[in-house]
Symmetry: C2
Subunit: 237 residues, 2 copies
């Protein structure tokens, strides 16, 4: 039945979504009719900061960036979400307004569940609530680490941490090294780190000189010495 599943055109795709994966086949089938599907093109705005939102959105295919515009007009990227991630959860309870904008980085397919339907679901299957708490906990952990590394004066540490994060989410191991498929441009990465694009270029250049990474093209790089990145990021201690 999984073989039917192609970019969420078929029902059981939701089994790939971690927060639902604890449910059995029967439960999954009962959820299917509650779900709405959408497709977005590259560059399309899925959500705009301040919009009224009443749905949980789950990414089935593709990746998106979630960002805010800072008072001085810069774009601060908060997350890159990809397959299996969800957003808009804050709007299921408390907040009514989206607290960031979300833009498709490539062709994206989503599933969404309205607040009302989600409430029904969560009350019926406690497992889902537990999974969400778990995932939110994970997300908080990541943010704590980001906050920590923002506090670290050393920009090198922050860059290394970002690359390691991408290594976890967007990489393939090859004989030459770990190949990262960067979800963002240099500018985007700089905007995640809150630093200038030029500074990122220079720092990546230094990493390349030290043979820690090798740039293949603008969207892919090879990590040659992951240990060195770990060390730079301060994960060694």
């Amino acid at each position: 039945m999984n073989s039917l599943c192609h970019y969420c055109q078929h029902n059981l795709c939701i089994h790939r979504v971690p927060i639902f994966s604890a449910l059995n086949q029967e439960a999954l089938l009962s959820i299917v009719p509650l779900i709405q599907r959408h497709r977005y093109s590259k560059g399309e705005l899925i959500l705009c900061e301040g919009d009224a939102v009443d749905s949980l959105m789950i990414i089935n295919h593709g990746s998106v960036k979630a960002y805010r515009i800072t008072p001085d007009g810069r774009e601060q990227i908060l997350y890159v979400f990809s397959e299996g991630d969800f957003f808009g959860e804050a709007n299921l309870f408390g907040q009514q307004k989206a607290n960031y904008s979300v833009e498709a980085l490539e062709e994206v397919f989503t599933c969404s569940l309205t607040k009302e339907k989600f409430e029904i679901l969560i009350r019926e299957y406690t497992e889902i609530a537990l999974r969400i708490i778990e995932e939110l906990g994970r997300r908080i952990s990541v943010m704590e680490t980001s906050l920590q590394s923002m506090g670290v004066r050393s920009i090198n540490a922050r860059i290394a941490a970002l690359l390691l994060e991408y290594q976890d989410k967007f990489s393939v191991v090859t004989p030459e090294g770990t190949e990262l498929h960067l979800p963002l441009s240099r500018e985007g990465m700089a905007n995640s780190l809150g630093i200038a694009r030029e500074t990122l270029s220079r720092k990546l250049g230094q990493l390349e000189t030290k043979r820690i990474i090798r740039t293949l093209n603008n969207k892919t790089m090879l990590v040659l010495q992951p240990e060195s990145l770990q060390k730079l990021a301060g994960y060694s201690e």
Copy 2:
């Protein structure tokens, strides 16, 4: 019955804890025997980064700082938790190890619930899970804002944001202005912001010159122009 409640010496104190406040009297009474109480003195370490933890801890009285030590030896403060806040939730699911250290900033009383007892509870009362998701969502919102303002180059914006945060949590309105009871020393605040103590002093001095704030003593300041802080923090747009 509330009148009996003094620093959590009596059972029904848990009604003051938001995640339990949705429960009725009967449900609350059934939880009481599951709770363990602790007292910590000022400066005492409640949790150490990396410790094995298997409990959710809720603060009944007092305030604590949660921090990590960065690779370069600095203390990065992640949160200041006070009455009604909880921590250690990440350890109820996924992680086994504390991802930050927690130190009492004054005399602190806590309630704690072990993982096992909490699981029983959450399965029985779905409301609690929903409350936790809500609170985690709120916490994520705050962190998103912090991350955003970390990205903002302007340190003034970050300082203003921190003062506004304290205004929400630790202030009393007086005829003269809003009186903030700072939970942290200048050094602590600098460590929350990831900046040097001296820089914070200078910047606060400037705010004082502009009559936006007035320092009463090391632990209290008066906010004279909250709107100016809002503007600096970039909340105006």
